[in-house]
Amino acid sequence: MFSSGINWFKYAAPQRFYALTGTLIPYCVAIAVITTIIGLTIGLLIAPSDHQQGESYRIIFIHVPAAWMSMVIYLAVAFWAAIGLIFNARLASMFALALAPTGALMTFIALWTGSLWGKPTWGTYWVWDARLTSELILLFLYLGFLSLHASIEDTRKADRSAAVLAIVGVVNIPIIYFSVKWWNTLHQGASVSLTKAPTMATQMLTGMLIMTIAFWAYSFALSFYRCRTLILERERHTAWAQEAVK
């Protein structure tokens, strides 16, 4: 059905996806470890001190990638949940569920590092700033998604109910993303933009981008791993799954 000759649905079968991720996870872990070492070396040792914030800005190398991931993963959860709901694709629903805990973790890290960063620069751990508040709502959305899924016995029903919630919650993502533009509150504006020249030193930017790669690789590794567990759990009646556990 595709002229390119690639069968896009090949890995939609849980068994093939299980095998594929089994090979991919070690690479993801390796990339995550290596880029974390490089990124943190650049970020903590090589990058210059900030002329305004001194050394305290260095938490940016964790904070910004985590904040990016928190939003990207939510979009991915909603996307895969929607695919699972619309096309009745079991694997897509499983992957959405596998992504959500990592997303919640990233949101938590973004909030936590943000508050640690806020203390020396703003003089407070928490303010009811638009971006902070909307990121907190994002954490509640993740928790709502996970607890709704957990509270419905029937797996397929749980997948589909949680999918509706994930899709509805997508409205929050543009609110977070544009919050620093729409409301002129305490949180600083975006330092990195695709359309403008960066306003930060090259080494800082390099460190941050390498750390972003690390976070991506980590998220892939963890969600693949979690997804494999879900696959085994749900396919436990099949012969191949019983074979795989042995």
Binding site: I137, L148, S151, K157, R160, S161, V164, I167, N172
Partner: protein
């Protein structure tokens, strides 16, 4: 059943049925109203009866009280119909399910949000709000409370098939209604600060328009999952 029923007629029939059910069980609507009044009366006791402070926090506080009161009655929006099988019939009716859902949500709003809105000026007097601020508060509640019912209906439908849905309902719905709260209470705050309030009402109106279209669709999808 010989003649085909027209969609508006069926919708009106659903609204009337739900309203007469609400009238038979006045307890439900009245408890939401009393909850609203009691929560609002607790704030001066907890914070202190300083009139200027109370006038300052009144809009946000009344909004939060209205939100919690609406949450209280949301759980029963579909639960009774789900238990006695009416919901299965509703899914099978000749009219599109989102429209049936919209009628039920409208009935829910009339028996909860509208009553709270009507009661709010009395509470506003207790909190020393001037006439103009009260007018803005009532108007913001008038646009905002249907939003609470619409967004809440999604949560009510999603938690139908769950164990212990009450707590979960709040966890699902409250994050989604935060923008409504911000702009609803923000309108009165902006007026206090001498700023124009139009922007807040435009945003509330835009949210209402979007929710009127999308929320019944999402609710209908969730109901289908629940009854299948």
């Amino acid at each position: 059943m010989s003649a085909r029923l027209s969609i508006p007629k069926v919708m009106l029939a659903i609204v009337r049925r739900d309203l007469s059910l609400a009238l038979r069980r006045k307890n439900d609507s009245l408890s939401a109203l009393f909850f609203f009044i009691v929560v609002a009366s607790l704030f001066p006791l907890g914070i202190g009866p300083e009139p200027t402070l109370l006038a300052k926090i009144a809009p946000g506080m009344l909004w939060i009280a209205a939100l919690l009161a609406a949450m209280l009655s949301l759980g029963r929006l579909f639960a009774d119909d789900f238990q006695d099988g009416t919901l299965d019939q509703l899914v099978l009716t000749a009219i599109p399910l989102p429209l049936a859902v919209l009628s039920k949500t409208a009935a829910h709003w009339i028996s909860s949000g509208l009553i709270l809105t009507i009661a709010s000026p009395i509470l506003a007097i207790q909190f020393n709000l001037d006439a103009q601020s009260t007018g803005i508060l009532v108007l913001s509640l008038l646009i905002g409370t249907p939003l609470l019912s619409l967004i809440g209906s999604i949560g009510a439908a999603l938690t139908l098939a769950t164990r212990g849905g009450g707590m979960l309902l709040s966890l699902l719905v409250l994050p989604l209604v935060i923008p409504v709260l911000i702009f609803g209470a923000g309108a009165v705050d902006a007026h206090h600060a001498g700023l124009p309030v139009d922007g807040h009402f435009y945003l509330l109106g835009a949210m209402l328009a979007i929710a009127l279209f999308f929320a019944p669709i999402a609710t209908a999808a969730s109901l289908r999952i629940a009854v299948e």
